[in-house]
């Protein structure tokens, strides 16, 4: 319980610091919100003053931040300056897209990365291993948006298997629309998972307890179960963090495939200086990452009793 409260306190502190940092950076960033709303047309001082007053841009920096923070504490994230729509509604429309994209991409990455990493670990130095490692190297190096264009040309234009853009209608059509963008993201992520899996499985396979178990004639499946449990800790840890980071890094893919997710929303909102939206998206991504890290820690503790013991002993020392 104490551990949970500590982690919760840390998370709130991180979110508060992050919100202030992002607000400050946006405040200092070049650009003028009032002029953004008017465009290149002639903007009279009266019009600029009216817009500044409406969005409280004429108030001191700290007053603006405090106004935002008070709103958030009361559950009000404000209205998007660009669209005039409540920020909660804006996020509500975008989150499902990004979550779907992230989850499918993650499923692809894990589904490809773990088996290939496992195979490579059992054939270290072989042609198979070198091929998998080589492919992983290319996968890590290839930018997702460049892959996206290649995929689009091959699978959408040449073969006509997948749609070029958009979200589609209905559940299955939407899933179909998300296959290519998810694959484009998953390639690089899968490559990372291959490398982590290969390293951690290979290390466990070389441990004395595996050799001892083998010499005692224990079945291969049972031995594999033993070392996979140990090898799973770094894989789960890294995968959890990868999943969280995927959620916040979809901007290029969403733009390429014209998907209305939070990545594209964040990019547009930053350039427009749409402060309420940028703050909300940043907080959302931070919450996802903080939550993922917490869950990863919990999963690692479940898999490794030594971590739980260590944690308990720390609590005893602290008390």
């Amino acid at each position: 319980m104490r551990y949970l409260l500590t982690r919760l306190g840390q998370a709130v502190g991180v979110l508060l610091a992050l919100s202030f940092l992002v607000f400050s950076l946006l405040y200092l960033a070049p650009g003028d919100l009032a002029k953004n709303l008017i465009g290149t047309r002639k903007a009279t001082p009266e019009a600029l003053a009216a817009i500044s007053q409406k969005y409280h841009l004429d108030e001191p920096f700290f007053a603006q931040y405090w106004r935002w923070l008070q709103g958030v504490l009361h559950g009000d994230f404000g209205d998007s300056i660009r669209s005039g729509v409540p920020v909660a509604d804006v996020l509500g429309q975008r989150i499902p897209v990004t979550i779907s994209l992230t989850v499918i991409a993650f499923a692809f990455a894990v589904g490809i990365g773990i088996p290939l990493g496992f195979i490579a670990a059992h054939r270290i130095g072989s042609l198979t291993d070198r091929t998998i490692v080589g492919v992983a190297l290319v996968g890590v190096s290839a930018p997702s948006f460049a892959l996206a264009l290649v995929f689009l040309y091959l699978f959408s234009v040449m073969l006509d298997w997948f749609p070029v853009y958009g979200m589609g209608d209905g559940f299955w059509d939407q899933m179909w629309h998300l296959v290519l963008p998810s694959l484009a993201i998953a390639v690089g992520t899968a490559a990372m998972i291959i490398k982590v899996t290969r390293t951690s499985v290979a290390r466990e396979v070389g441990q004395d307890y595996v050799m001892f178990a083998t010499s005692r004639g224990i079945g291969r499946q049972r031995i594999a179960g033993l070392y996979m449990k140990n090898a799973a800790i770094p894989i789960i840890t890294s995968s959890g963090l990868i999943l969280a980071s995927l959620f916040g890094s979809t901007v290029l893919i969403e733009t390429t495939f014209a998907l209305p997710g939070i990545g594209q929303l964040l990019a547009d909102s930053i350039t427009f200086k749409d402060v309420p939206v940028v703050q909300a998206v940043t907080m959302l991504v931070a919450v996802v990452i903080v939550t993922a890290m917490f869950l990863v820690d919990l999963a690692a503790a479940v898999l490794n009793p030594a971590l739980r013991t260590h944690s308990r002993s720390q609590e005893v020392i602290a008390s």
């Binding site: 650009g31 008017i38 019009a47 009216a50 660009r82 669209s83 429309q93 930018p143 264009l149």
Partner: protein, 530 residues
């Protein structure tokens, strides 16, 4: 990785991908026409937009794309025809008894797309809405101070201006600052223009679905006073990436693609089953000199830079011959909306320009207070890569004078915020007029408060005359006279008038496709020729 770098890599990837484009399968149009013989009806048309909309309410977000989409479903009191002339819309007639009074006779049979009749009260409400800076932050600036609006008959509305302004007739149009909606619909909407509430207009199509940054769908109605359009449904898809738009048209998923990059025009031109139409977009691109910033307070410096601008080369190489060398602030199509393009060209050809001449540029700089050159920066918006390429050619020419020009790409929002702030002596101006008013661009660049911070009473006087002159020709001459003085003073150096490129599937025929096409109720003019 910085944004410019990302785009560069993306462009390289695209070149690689499209290098084999010649062997791509020919497209089959996504256009879905009804099969009944002899019928021109089209079930649905898919349109790719080169950007996205966050709201359908143009009074909130007023980019040029917002206007193009708004004209599908909304109208003002007046409209614009293919020649750029004001024509009746919800007002079936209008008159201007004197310089400050406009009288509009409202169409009595007009209906909103949901079938409810349009009342004078709805129009008065919409005018109040458009003038309210809180509810219409982007467009309330169009409405002049001191304007009074009143109902002067059962179906008559009269506007009285505090001072004469000929251009005001453009304000109550759907490309100016008025989109008539229903009072009850607006007041019942939580957030007008959002995906939850949509919008209600009086045009040929109703909005049936809107997903910000994704798409908006329109369905034809039979309530429009102008008739029933041939295309039953229009799906506008927001596809910001130019490579994706190209692939979508290539694969036949889209029927019309707006805002094609001129850099990719060869790829677009080669798509089977589709053709690209190039037409003036009436935009102006040019250099703005701020004489309050050293060393641009020296006219010889301004002339030197103006002489180093190789406009012919920029148009032929950077724009692939798809633009036009600008001699003044208004394009012929814009200035000619009321006097005809031929007369406009004649007037514009008389303006002082500084031809590309590096020898003359060196001579001018030698006479200046910085004969050995200086350093300066020119920023351009990230949405206008052609401006960046043109700036690089200018930088190359200026380097021969000893002037070191640093060219910097910035987000368009940052670029807009810097225009005319006195931070730089040299700015770009990139302006796409929304109305067909000949004075729209000069009205901004030659009146007090202009981005060059240029002050000349004679220029201001000509512009003041132009704003009250009811004679189209003498009005245009006043604008040209003001333009001439400012250009001779090198407050501005026009570079080019822009061209827009739009791809149409061969099965669709846009009627009256001109520089004003997307300002008209253009969707209603699409017909099938398949």
């Amino acid at each position: 990785m910085s944004v410019p770098r990302i785009r560069l890599v993306l462009a390289l990837a695209a070149v690689t991908a499209f290098g084999v484009g010649a062997c791509a399968p020919s497209s089959s149009s996504g256009l879905d026409a009804t099969s009944s013989a002899g019928s021109d009806t089209v079930d649905d048309v898919t349109i790719a937009l080169p950007g996205s909309l966050s709201t359908l309410d143009v009074a909130q977000e007023a980019g040029s794309l917002n206007y193009q989409i708004a004209t599908i479903t909304s109208e003002g009191l007046l409209g614009v025809n293919a020649d750029g002339e004001l024509v009746p819309a919800l007002a079936e007639a209008w008159s201007q008894p004197d310089a400050t009074t406009y009288v509009f006779s409202i169409r009595q049979d007009a209906k909103f797309t949901d079938g409810t009749p349009v009342t004078v009260d709805d129009i008065l409400f919409s005018i109040d809405l458009a003038r309210d800076p809180d509810r219409s932050p982007s467009t309330s600036i169009y409405w002049p101070e001191g304007l009074t609006v009143e109902q002067t008959g059962d179906w008559e509305i009269t506007f009285t201006l505090a001072e004469a302004n000929v251009a005001f007739a453009w304000t109550p149009t759907a490309v100016g600052g008025l989109w008539v909606t229903s009072r009850s619909f607006y007041e019942n909407a939580g957030t007008y223009g959002s995906s939850a509430d949509l919008i209600l207009g009086t045009g040929a199509y109703e909005v049936v679905e809107f997903q910000p940054d994704s798409h908006v769908t329109f369905r034809a109605v039979d309530t429009w006073w102008g008739g029933t359009p041939d295309v039953k449904e229009i799906d506008v898809e927001f596809i910001p990436d130019e490579n994706t738009r190209l692939l979508a048209q290539q694969s036949g998923e889209t029927d019309i693609s707006l805002g094609i990059s001129l850099d990719q025009s060869e790829h677009w031109d080669s798509i089977a089953g589709s053709s690209v139409e190039y037409v003036s977009d009436r935009s102006y691109v040019g250099l703005t000199f701020d004489a309050s910033v050293e060393p641009f307070d020296d006219i010889h410096v301004r002339k030197a830079v103006a002489h180093a601008l190789d406009r012919e080369s920029i148009v032929s190489t950077v724009l692939h011959g798809k633009g036009e060398v600008a001699t003044g602030l208004s394009s012929p199509a814009q200035l000619g909306s009321s006097i005809g393009e031929d007369k406009a060209r004649e007037l514009l050809s008389s303006l002082t320009t500084f031809d590309f001449d590096l020898t003359a540029a060196k001579a001018e700089l030698a006479q200046s207070k910085v004969p050995n050159g200086f350093d300066l920066e020119l920023t351009y918006p990230n949405s206008g890569p052609q401006l960046g390429q043109a700036a690089l050619t200018l930088a190359d020419n200026l380097s021969e004078l000893g002037i070191n020009l640093e060219v910097t790409e910035v987000p368009i929002e940052e670029w807009i915020s810097k225009v005319g702030t006195g931070d730089y002596g040299l700015y770009y101006m990139w302006y796409l007029p929304t109305t067909g008013d000949p004075g729209e661009i000069p009205g901004w660049l030659l009146n007090p408060g202009n981005p060059a911070q240029y002050e000349n009473d004679e220029v201001f006087s000509h512009m003041a005359s132009s704003s009250t002159d009811l004679n189209d020709l003498t009005r245009a001459e006043s604008i040209i006279a003001a333009n001439e003085i400012a250009q001779a003073d090198v407050a501005y150096a026009p570079a080019w008038w822009g061209v827009s490129a739009t791809a149409f599937t061969d099965n669709l025929a846009p009627q009256n496709y001109t520089a004003y096409f997307f300002m008209t109720p253009w969707a209603a003019s699409l017909t099938s020729i398949g």
